[in-house]
């Protein structure tokens, strides 16, 4: 089985994790009607790359922490994982 490196627990089977989707920058000030379009984009629209993608994972069957991974969406090779705002592993 494919493995993923949790920044807290180290390498674990991917079945312990939940994939939480492509990382998208969150827009500011959602109350401003002029930014409604940006919010719809944030909620629904994705780049959906065939290549290295930055994405959210959640260690559901482990420590319960959320983190980011950079993973190739064809080969599934994981380049690195890190906490949001943190240093990359490997």
């Amino acid at each position: 089985m494919m493995q993923l490196e949790c920044p807290n627990c180290g390498p674990r089977n991917v079945s312990e994790f939940r994939f939480r989707g492509e990382y998208v920058e969150r827009p500011h000030d959602g109350a401003d009607p002029a930014r409604r379009r940006a919010w719809a984009e944030y909620l629904y629209f994705r780049d959906n790359r065939a290549g290295v993608q930055k994405e959210w994972w959640y260690h559901q069957a482990g420590c319960g922490r959320w983190f980011l991974a950079e993973r190739h969406t064809k080969s599934h090779a994981v380049e690195n994982t890190r906490y949001w705002g943190g240093e990359a592993t490997s």
């Binding site: 089985m1 994939f19 989707g21 492509e22 994705r46 959906n48 790359r49 969406t73 064809k74 599934h76």
Partner: protein, 412 residues
């Protein structure tokens, strides 16, 4: 047996006529359709037959049907949950019912009945809800008891032994299966006969947009000038849209399926279990065709995984313990373009002349005729047909998402 068949059988063998021709790639087409799956080919067919638009190219990077259209489990049904969904899929089933004679090609549509099992109170409630909405729209669909399920499917375990016993089912008699390759080839042959050019091994590598309008498509075989481009590339649709500068609310996920060795016929309905995450039918050759939910993370890989086969087998055996000794024969994956509301995206985009027929997820094969017909109508008349208006690209900005999850999340 028909006499024509007998007569042909007695004639000396001749190589069969090619089903579609090869053409040089023109440097201009009125309409360029990207993707040689059932959707792209159906659109080309209706453009040519209904609207007399024949200067059309279908560009396919590999061979036609090499995408999800040649990899699906071919289940057709119209017992959806939302009124707009039911209307739309119902028109597709009606087109399918007539397709073999229309295309003069046996697509082997077998309306053997479709059963969605319920194992919990909440899914019983959803089934009841679906049955009510279906009946109002004249779609044959009703909730049946475990005893009635047992009568239709004698080999299924309706006792309270499984971890989640069967509490009932939504029964949809007109649902069934079709020969997916035949649909692809039939549309291709008929479109070709009307003058559509089908270009295989032709990969789109770029889309030229000037002043927010499509002007050309770049391919590995050269540039094609055109004012109208249809993106019908399912799992790859985000990549094609990005070439035109359009982002889509789509995530690509592989969906796997497999078939077992052939068995004597024992199952003549389609079985779906949302709780156990599997569906099952028996092909005319006797193989059991089985599938489950999409892979757990986004991917463009069509590798088959052992995790999938293991989980699927465990789930199927909960309800069909007698299949324990049956061996798997083939196992594969196809790419699915998942949308947030389990509904497709059809129509215009912010770029003029760039249209989409995407977001078909795990359920789009059944929709190929109606999408093809209505997208052709849109291209020919420049007006969005009412039937597909609820699936517009803009719905994500206006808060009008469709919410078909209850009827499409697991079941194809």
């Amino acid at each position: 047996m028909s006499f024509t068949l007998l007569k042909r059988g007695l004639r000396p063998n001749r190589p069969p006529a090619p089903m579609w021709r090869e053409h040089p790639l023109q440097d201009h087409y009125d309409v360029v359709i990207i993707g040689g799956g059932a959707h792209g080919l159906a659109t080309a067919y209706y453009l040519a037959t209904v609207h007399g638009i024949t200067d059309v190219a279908v560009l396919e990077k590999r061979y036609i049907g090499s995408g999800a259209s040649g990899r699906n489990t071919a289940i057709l049904r119209s017992n959806y949950l939302t009124p707009e969904g039911i209307l739309f899929y119902d028109e597709s089933i009606k087109l399918y019912e007539n397709l073999a004679s229309e295309l003069d090609f046996n697509v082997m549509f077998s309306q053997r009945g479709h059963l969605t099992l319920a194992h919990t109170d909440s899914s019983m409630r959803t089934m009841q809800w679906r049955a009510e909405v279906n009946q109002i729209q004249n779609v044959d669909s009703r909730v049946i008891s475990p005893a009635e399920v047992k009568k239709l499917v004698p080999f299924i375990d309706t006792s309270d032994r499984p971890r989640y016993p069967i509490m009932g089912a939504l029964y949809h008699p007109p649902g069934g299966v079709i020969r997916h390759d035949a649909v692809v080839w039939g549309y291709a042959r008929a479109a070709d006969a009307k003058g559509v050019h089908i270009h295989q091994q032709t990969e789109v590598t770029g889309i030229d947009v000037e002043h927010n309008r499509v002007v050309a498509v770049q391919t590995n075989r050269g540039r094609i000038a055109t004012g109208t481009v249809l993106n019908a590339t399912a799992g790859w649709c985000s990549l094609i849209a990005a070439m035109a500068g359009v982002r889509l609310p789509v995530e690509t996920r592989p969906l796997q399926a497999c078939v077992t060795e052939p068995l004597k016929p024992f199952l003549d309905t389609v079985i779906v279990s949302g709780t156990f995450h599997f569906y099952l039918s028996q092909s005319d050759r006797g193989e059991l065709v089985m599938g489950a939910s999409v892979n757990p993370f986004a991917s463009y890989s069509t590798d088959a995984t052992l995790d999938f086969a293991e989980a699927l087998a465990g789930h199927v055996l909960e309800l069909f313990p007698s299949l324990a000794k049956v061996r798997l024969l083939r196992h594969w994956a196809g790419l699915c373009d998942m949308t947030p509301d389990f509904s497709p995206i059809m129509g215009t985009t912010p770029v003029d002349g760039f249209l989409v027929d995407v977001g078909w997820g795990t359920y789009g094969f059944k929709a190929a005729p109606v999408s093809g017909k209505r997208m052709a109508e849109l291209i020919a008349t420049n007006r969005t047909p009412e039937l597909i208006a609820p699936f517009a690209y803009d719905r994500f900005f206006t808060g009008q998402i469709v919410g078909e999850k209850g009827a499409a999340a697991v079941t194809n």
